[in-house]
């Protein structure tokens, strides 16, 4: 697996030594008449290249934290710096640009576009970014090789196994060479062997320098991370 990383220089960038800094972040939702605290005064610092797992029971706010980290959700209050950039001030379009260039997502439900082939699914972020067809083909070919999917490239998602689907999803998430990879229950829909395979792929990417944040309630998977964050009721309970 070869992924070109330039993460080292990120550490030297500006006065903010941290890759990501969350300061006193609140995020609450209205569920019926009740206000639910997804995140309640959460502060967190992440260094470039870290491997973090976020654990906790359902409703503890771990998915909300992941969505906030991934710029899909905006905090109601607090401070969020991504590579020194104040995220709270960015427009919708600038946030989309950040997601496109710096962040990759892996979902429990894979979220592959059913009518597109594996190769086309992997190419999707490049297409949205306006990368030319020629360059896309090259990079997708490289990704298919890296993720051992060459013989599956023309198959549609419904013709792939769960493990293969998640590998396609990871290939798609990393095709733009993001610096942050966010995985929400990446093994939730997979059998044991496929899970091991997918976790292996994710950890290899982390070894190559990508910052990896995995949300899971599978303690076995969670414990593999270098740093485990336990959440409960929207607060960080332990961080080690």
């Amino acid at each position: 697996m070869v992924l070109l990383r330039e993460s080292k220089q990120v550490n030297n960038q500006g006065p903010d030594a941290f890759f990501i800094t969350l300061g006193h972040v609140d995020r609450s939702f209205k569920l019926g008449d009740e206000m639910v605290h997804g995140l309640d005064d959460v502060s967190l610092q992440i260094k470039s290249g870290e491997y973090i797992s976020i654990m906790g029971p359902s409703g503890s706010g771990k998915s909300t934290l992941l969505n906030v980290l991934g710029l899909l959700d905006k905090p109601d209050q607090g401070d969020y710096r991504f590579q020194g950039q104040n995220i709270m001030q960015l427009s919708e379009q600038e946030l989309a640009g950040f997601r496109r260039e710096k962040i990759g997502f892996v979902f429990q439900a894979f979220h592959l576009v059913p009518r597109l082939s594996a190769a086309e699914n992997i190419a999707l972020p490049l297409m949205l970014a306006g990368v030319s067809h020629l360059e896309r083909t090259d990079r997708v070919q490289q990704a298919l090789e890296n993720f051992n999917l060459v013989d599956r490239s023309h198959h549609r998602p419904d013709q792939l196994s769960g493990g293969q689907r998640q590998r396609v999803a990871i290939a798609r998430a990393t095709i733009t060479r993001p610096s942050l990879l966010l995985a929400d229950e990446p093994t939730g829909n997979l059998d044991h062997n496929s899970s091991l395979e997918v976790v292996g792929v994710l950890e290899e990417l982390n070894r190559q320098g990508i910052t990896l944040v995995v949300v899971t309630h599978d303690s076995e998977l969670g414990k593999r991370a270098d740093r485990v964050i336990q959440m409960l009721d929207g607060k960080i309970r332990t961080d080690a």
């Binding site: 899909l72 919708e92 989309a96 576009v113 999707l124 297409m127 067809h133």
Partner: protein
């Protein structure tokens, strides 16, 4: 995102839900095809009528008694009644050097009988010139003889339909038919071709104008048809006619002179309006197709919520999602419109085979405006679903909540 990729993505998406796409295309196809067909019918009617008129000759002038104007003087001494057009008026017009020939006309209805058979038909009283002026043609015998206008003669010419009604296959030439209380000898039968504007020349009896005056006991003419020498001098001929009649009618200009051109343009206007309204009616079906596109795209947005969430997570900003979905609905309408144009033109071709006499030519403006209308409705009605897609919250969209 590259233009080419937007197109490809949209087409791929439409292909992914083929049945729904085809049904929507069908609605648009029917809408556009009906615009094409209905406007073709209207336009065809216009062309047909103007063609019929032109076949009469464009250097024709028609004189009607009376003047179309509104007057409002106190109780008139001379009376508001107009003077009748008389045979003498007609004869005096021959003085103008711009007039080649003219035909006075009296029209009435009278029962015509032969043996036991009796039929109420239109009686035209005129002169030999009518043959040339109205471009008639004979199937048997001859037209009215060249006579002085004021001479009656017990002869008549029958339309082909009247002839077959009264005589069937028997010989009609030389027979005497009874017209009301008079009798006349059949000297000619008109050709079947002779259907010209207004009067069905198949079902008429034509007799010398003086005979008709006696029959109807009236000296006033219904019309005078005048043929000018050329099309170019038609205005001069009209001025001459007005001047001469005015002299004869003690300074009162109490006739209306219609030219072929003015009649033609009136018909043109009426029939163009007909075409536009037909187009408008058909346009309603385009609107319906547009609403169907909106419906289909709304369903597509709710079905593809997760996909939209994914696109957002992958870094597609609002306007890109908007563009993708608008492109889809634009394609639905564009492809439907093109199919509709083809279907409409094919329909025209088929109709043309069945009715070779009638011109089935779709007006250019209708083709273009149907196409433009279709695309505009597609985009217009696509806007609501596309905006809904673009404004989805990615977190909600991805979780399927």
């Amino acid at each position: 995102m590259k233009f080419h990729d937007v197109i490809e993505f949209a087409l791929h998406a439409l292909e992914g839900y083929l049945a729904r796409t085809l049904l929507t295309l069908l609605a648009m196809t029917i809408g556009v095809a009906s615009v094409v067909l209905l406007t073709t019918l209207g336009e065809g009617a216009r062309l047909y009528v103007t063609d019929q008129f032109s076949s009469l000759g464009t250097n024709l002038l028609i004189i009607l008694p009376g003047r179309t104007e509104t007057t409002g003087t106190a109780p008139p001494l001379t009376g508001g009644t107009t003077r009748d057009l008389t045979l003498e008026d007609a004869a005096s017009l021959e003085r103008s050097r711009h007039v080649r020939r003219l035909a006075p006309i009296i029209v009435g209805a009278a029962p015509v009988s032969f043996g036991q058979l009796d039929r109420e038909v239109t009686i035209l009283g005129s002169t030999a010139s009518l043959f040339e002026v109205r471009k008639l043609s004979m199937s048997q015998g001859q037209f009215l003889p060249e006579l002085e206008m004021n001479l009656a003669s017990p002869v008549c010419v029958l339309g082909y339909k009247l002839k077959s009604e009264l005589f069937g296959n028997k010989k009609a030439l030389g027979q005497w038919v009874r017209v009301s209380a008079d009798r006349c000898r059949v000297i000619g039968i008109l050709d079947e071709e002779g259907l010209s504007v207004g009067v069905d020349m198949g079902d008429v009896l034509i007799m010398p104008v003086a005979s008709a005056q006696r029959l109807f006991n009236s000296s006033s003419l219904f019309r005078i048809l005048v043929e000018a020498r050329h099309k170019e001098i038609i205005d001069k001929a009209r001025d001459d006619i007005r001047r001469i009649i005015k002299e004869r009618h003690e300074g009162e200009e109490d006739v209306t002179v219609l030219t072929q051109d003015s009649l033609l343009s009136t018909f043109n206007r009426i029939l163009s309006t007909l075409t536009y309204s037909l187009g408008g009616i058909a346009g309603v079906s385009l609107l319906v197709a547009g609403i169907m596109i909106m419906n289909v795209m709304l369903v597509a947005v709710s079905q593809r919520t997760a996909e939209i969430g994914l696109l957002k997570a992958l870094g597609a900003p609002r306007h890109q999602i908007l563009l993708l979905f608008l492109t889809e609905s634009a394609f639905l309408s564009l492809l439907g419109a093109l199919a509709g144009l083809l279907a409409g033109l094919a329909g025209n071709w088929v109709l043309q085979q069945y009715f070779p006499m009638f011109p089935f030519v779709a007006p250019q403006w209708a083709l273009w405006s149907a196409l433009a209308m279709a695309i505009l409705t597609g985009i217009g009605f696509g806007l609501v679903p596309a905006r809904r897609a673009a404004s989805l919250d990615p977190v909600v969209a991805l979780s399927g909540r």
